[in-house]
């Protein structure tokens, strides 16, 4: 390619214009701002690095939310009073054994929730990466999904349990008296209503989870925060890459909030 023919972009032109000031360290505020933006976003198409990082963040968050929802709902059901105090006396050996197993699982669920909520996510991530998967080589994304998913499950469990408890007892009684099994009553009558009342709290949890994936930068998963780290290590900027990453997080969270708000309105309309 001929350098004389190739036209220079306007960004590079501005960059060249402020070069004397950069060398002499006499930048005005606006020139300084442009220098930071040029170095950390424009030069070498660095903005693509942020987008790649954002992609990883979204991927991890999405699967972690799925894991959290699935596991969290199971934990929540195990923690319900009627499951905790299950009693099958006089229904035979196998029913009794089943009841004992369920009680043990329920106890374990309680312990799990306490441990996962009682220790920092950062420590859990480090332990899962360097301890549990210490000598197993696997994709960091999977480790991220597992760590964030397991952590989120504990919070989701409490949210779902709160949602289930908020559904009137009469709903269960109505379902059972209509001849539905207790499983079907839970699936088709209680959980849908519980989901509606748990939605705002759940939205909160999703938002936290998306932001908490930034902790995965500690295990060098190149998500949005780490992408900023890598750019910073090359441009030697004090904090500009973090501002760019932060704006991207904000965009994602605001979009999610908007979508869930819409969903909530639709669910409210279905009340009538």
């Amino acid at each position: 390619m001929n350098a004389a023919v190739e036209s220079i972009s306007i960004f590079e032109q501005w960059w060249l214009n402020i070069q004397p000031a950069v060398q002499a360290n006499t930048l005005t505020f606006w020139e300084y701002l442009y220098k930071e933006i040029y170095l950390n976003v424009i030069q070498g198409n660095r903005w693509l690095q942020y987008l790649k990082g954002l992609g990883v963040t979204l991927e991890v968050s999405f699967f972690a939310i799925l894991v959290g929802l699935l596991l969290g709902t199971i934990l929540a059901i195990l923690r319900l009073p009627q499951v905790q105090n299950i009693n099958c006396k006089g229904k035979g050996f196998w029913a009794n054994l089943g009841a004992v197993c369920v009680k043990a699982l329920s106890k374990f669920a309680g312990l799990y929730i306490n441990v996962m909520r009682g220790t920092p996510l950062l420590l859990q991530v480090l332990i899962i990466n360097f301890g549990i998967f210490g000598s197993i080589r696997m994709d960091k994304i999977i480790i991220g999904v597992i760590a964030c998913g397991l952590n989120s499950a504990a919070y989701v469990a409490e949210i779902v349990r709160g949602g289930i408890m908020s559904v009137e007892k009469g709903q269960t009684e109505a379902g059972r008296s209509l001849g539905l099994s207790s499983f079907r009553t839970m699936m088709y009558i209680i959980l849908p209503q519980a989901a509606k009342s748990a939605l705002p709290a759940m939205c909160n949890e999703f938002i936290s989870l998306i932001k908490e994936t930034s902790i995965l930068s500690y295990i060098a998963l190149t998500e949005l925060t780490k992408a900023g780290d890598y750019i910073r290590s090359r441009t030697f900027s004090a904090f500009t890459p973090y501002i760019v990453s932060g704006l991207l997080y904000l965009t994602v969270v605001l979009t999610l909030t908007w979508l869930i708000g819409k969903l909530e309105r639709r669910l409210r309309n279905s009340d009538h």
Binding site: Q49, F63, I142, R234
Partner: protein
């Protein structure tokens, strides 16, 4: 329910496909936030720098295939210690404590621990550092030397040297211990006249490639390759390429 099961199955499959299969590739543990030795190129994936050029030359001579694994610097040596198929290449200084955990190749550069202070600071000699707060990167030779000199309570440990220098810029600490080539690179890029590097070397600091204790075969291959590269004058080329512009010369042993 069926749809849900299908979804779970799809999730499991996507996840399991990405699990890397073990083969005879060598994994290279590194912290790519350490220019000019290694940093992430503008495409966000490729790792470039002095040590990457060196690694490519060694890999060609020794006939090995490698793959980078990024991590925090403080995890590099322990990762090599735990995995026989992993080597550490991250500006790792050869120290007795680390030699208990891993084997080191013959040294290829003397980085030397230098001191960065504010230009108007009263610190001029090693003695002046007593009682001052020194910023370092966690787990580096600078960290160990600073601790020996001023005690652990006066050492501020950061994840990268850049963070330490930025805090020095903001007057939160009194001095930064840093490997000289890295310090020169940071000062050149920050272009801040209020920072200066003292003309003293705290300790000589030789970088080597960390190899698992059980993998002596690989260590021999690497050492043979380094010796050969030395004869060919490859290190002079590297010095020229990476350090000439900033005016420091680092002689390979």
């Amino acid at each position: 329910m069926k749809k849900f099961l299908a979804l779970v199955a799809a999730l499991v499959m996507t996840l399991s496909c990405t699990v890397a299969m073990a083969d005879d590739i060598i994994y290279v543990a590194t912290n790519p936030e350490y220019p000019p030795f290694e940093s992430v190129a503008d495409d966000g994936e490729t790792i470039i720098g002095y040590e990457v050029d060196l690694l490519n030359a060694i890999a060609e001579k020794a006939g090995i295939e490698y793959k980078f694994e990024s991590m925090q610097f403080a995890s590099v040596v322990s990762s090599v210690q735990a995995n026989p198929d992993t080597i550490g290449l991250s500006g790792i200084s050869i120290t007795p404590a680390r030699q208990l955990e891993v084997n080191f190749s013959s040294p290829y550069i003397n980085a030397g621990v230098a001191v960065i202070v504010k230009a108007d600071s009263t610190i001029a000699t090693i003695e002046d550092l007593a009682g001052k707060v020194i910023g370092v990167q966690l787990g580096t030779t600078s960290d160990f030397e600073a601790e020996k000199l001023v005690g652990i309570e006066n050492v501020a440990q950061y994840n990268t040297f850049l963070e330490a220098v930025l805090d020095l810029q903001g007057n939160k600490i009194d001095a930064v211990f840093v490997d000289r080539p890295v310090g020169v690179e940071i000062l050149a890029n920050l272009n801040d006249p209020s920072l200066t590097m003292l003309d003293i070397e705290i300790v000589a600091d030789y970088y080597g490639i960390a190899v698992n204790k059980n993998n002596t075969e690989l260590l021999e291959k690497i050492n043979a390759a380094i010796a050969e590269l030395q004869k060919e004058g490859f290190f002079d080329e590297l010095d020229m390429k990476y350090f000439n512009a900033t005016g420091i010369s680092v002689a390979a042993e």
